[in-house]
């Protein structure tokens, strides 16, 4: 089994869209996310998941013996990194299969998921 990092990115501002939604609609959306995470957990694919704090982050650089720290965003200015899921799958194909019906890309037209395999040096 290989480990994959699934990064949830929001392009644009889904908040604006969500701010017009009713509590009932928001709960329905929440239900979709929870259904996906529950299924992955129940099938043993989900290892961990975390939300990253919005609108903050630091970027460190060292030049001329001096460390400079700048405030994030570390991605394109309109893109917000919302959080990540750490999942297990046999390979990229299997991991992609798990993400086909992910609510994040189903619900938000400009949102994306980034899939990165974690390099496991114990395996060849």
């Amino acid at each position: 089994m290989a480990q994959f990092l699934v990064l949830a990115r929001d392009a644009g501002d889904p908040r604006r869209e969500m701010s017009r939604m009713s509590p009932e609609e928001l709960q329905r959306i929440m239900g979709k996310y929870m259904a996906w995470t529950t299924r992955l957990r129940d099938t043993g694919h989900l290892q961990n998941s975390n939300k990253l704090r919005d609108g903050e982050g630091r970027v460190l650089r060292r030049a001329g013996g001096k460390v400079t720290v700048t405030d994030g965003p570390f991605v394109e200015s309109k893109e917000v990194l919302g959080g990540y899921w750490l999942i297990e799958a046999a390979d990229y194909a299997a991991a992609l299969a798990l993400l086909q019906d992910h609510p994040h890309i189903e619900l938000w037209p400009n949102a994306s998921l980034e899939l990165r395999q974690i390099h496991d040096f114990t395996q060849r």
């Binding site: 509590p23 009932e24 609609e25 959306i29 929440m30 239900g31 929870m34 998941s49």
Partner: protein, 422 residues
């Protein structure tokens, strides 16, 4: 963050109900002039949940989590205002808000209900405000439930909130001596909401159980508080529970309408019938007999009849006589005519219908010709029945009702073609 976030499912309508409670509580603390701030803070809290819980899991106490965040958002706004404008005292109580448990916000929700239904506001505003502020409906959802266009609803809400500010309406449960009068408009809103769910006008579905359930939830809040638990409240709650018990049998598997006489009574929700009868008993204290008492008594007769044939129509007819005397509305008169026909035969029923037939309030009401058609058919006059069914079809009704009417027409035409000599 935990590696195993709890994934407990959320209670149905949690967001909707919690939104109503949170807006009520924050508005009480911030003052009704700041309704918008209360609503904004609550919406922010729900958005934050949506951005957090998919990753972090649903917290153990989702409601408490939402309250805490909404309260913090409101405080942030106030802090901001305080720095930029005049010094502003933080409302006492806002800080310990999150410590209060679920279900302890009934008073605030009731106060909000009474404010939304303040007689100083228009009738249409009562419904829109109640659905928005107490029930957590969006403008679009209110438009769906009240057959209005969303921009009209939005405008109505803005105007009503301005009225609330300018008239400085109180966010309080009325004093005992004012309560009965103030309750009237609150109960009216609930019953309208219930009826819209019970017989959805227009649209694809015949019933909207969610609207019925919301009306029942609000009535339960009133009945659950000793300050507002009056006989009329119990009677309306009984009425709605008894009607609600029949919903599963009212629509068949295809979403089509099944009339009371043809319903499979084993599909009636017995738990709701019993709850309804219990509340009807509680409504019987004192001397007050509201129209809801009478309607609930009628509903109880139907709910307890073993089958359609053993329905006590003479008693139901007398109850309708009482109801017409108390609440002389054309729709009540129409229902009475049905009871008359069941008790005394179609011809007597048709005569009762003829007496209300030219009421302008019923001119666009499809059930008037539909009922007439059914009675003509029972009286054996098929061509007359056809004519009235076609008249009913020409008026606005929901898609399942339309299919019902078309089915009746097809049946009669079939009977006619078989009866006609070849």
């Amino acid at each position: 963050m935990s590696a195993n976030p709890p994934l407990a499912g959320l209670v149905d309508h949690l967001f909707r109900h919690a939104a109503g409670e949170m807006v009520a509580v924050l508005a009480r603390l911030l003052g009704p002039a700041r309704l918008d701030l209360a609503e904004e803070a609550v919406q922010d809290a729900l958005l934050r949940a949506l951005q957090t819980w998919p990753f972090a899991g649903v917290p153990d106490n989702p409601r408490g989590w939402l309250f805490q965040v909404a309260r913090n958002r409101a405080l942030d706004h106030l802090r901001h205002e305080t720095m930029s404008r005049e010094a502003l005292q933080w409302p006492a109580g806002i800080v310990d808000l999150a410590q209060r448990g679920a279900g302890s916000f009934g008073d605030e929700a009731l106060a909000m209900m009474f404010m939304c239904c303040d007689p100083a506001l228009g009738h249409a505003a009562h419904i829109a405000l109640t659905l928005k502020l107490v029930s957590g409906f969006s403008v679009e959802e209110i438009a769906d439930a009240s057959l209005e266009r969303a921009p009209a609803v939005a405008q109505r809400l803005v105007r009503a909130k301005r009225e609330i500010r300018e008239r400085r309406l109180a966010l309080e449960i009325p004093l005992p001596r004012e309560l009965a009068a103030r309750l009237e408009s609150v109960l009216e809103v609930m019953y309208l909401l219930f009826n819209e769910g019970y017989a959805a006008h227009g649209g694809e579905s015949l019933v909207r159980a969610d609207l019925c359930d919301e009306a029942i939830r609000l009535a339960r809040l009133l009945a659950g508080n000793p300050q507002t638990d009056r006989p009329a409240v119990e009677a309306l709650l009984a009425l709605m529970l008894l009607q609600r018990s029949r919903l599963p049998a009212r629509v068949d598997a295809l979403g089509d309408l099944t009339l009371l006489a043809d319903q499979d009574r084993s599909r009636w929700d017995r738990g709701l019938v019993e709850a309804g009868l219990r509340h009807l008993e509680r409504a019987a204290v004192g001397t007050e007999i509201s129209p809801y008492h009478i309607e609930a008594a009628i509903a109880a007769h139907h709910a307890t009849a073993r089958d359609a044939a053993s329905t006590d129509w003479p008693t139901i007819r007398r109850l309708y006589d009482d109801l017409v005397a108390q609440k002389p509305s054309p729709v009540v008169a129409l229902n009475r005519a049905v009871a008359v026909a069941m008790a005394e035969g179609p011809e007597v029923g048709i005569r009762a219908l003829e007496r209300i037939g030219d009421d302008p309030a019923l001119a666009q009401y499809h059930l008037l010709p539909a009922v007439r058609a059914g009675l003509e058919r029972r009286a054996g006059r098929r061509p007359e029945a056809l004519r009235h069914y076609h008249a009913a079809l020409a008026l606005r009704c929901s898609a399942p009702e339309r299919r019902f009417l078309e089915r009746q027409i097809a049946e009669i035409e079939d009977e006619l073609s078989r009866a006609a000599p070849q």
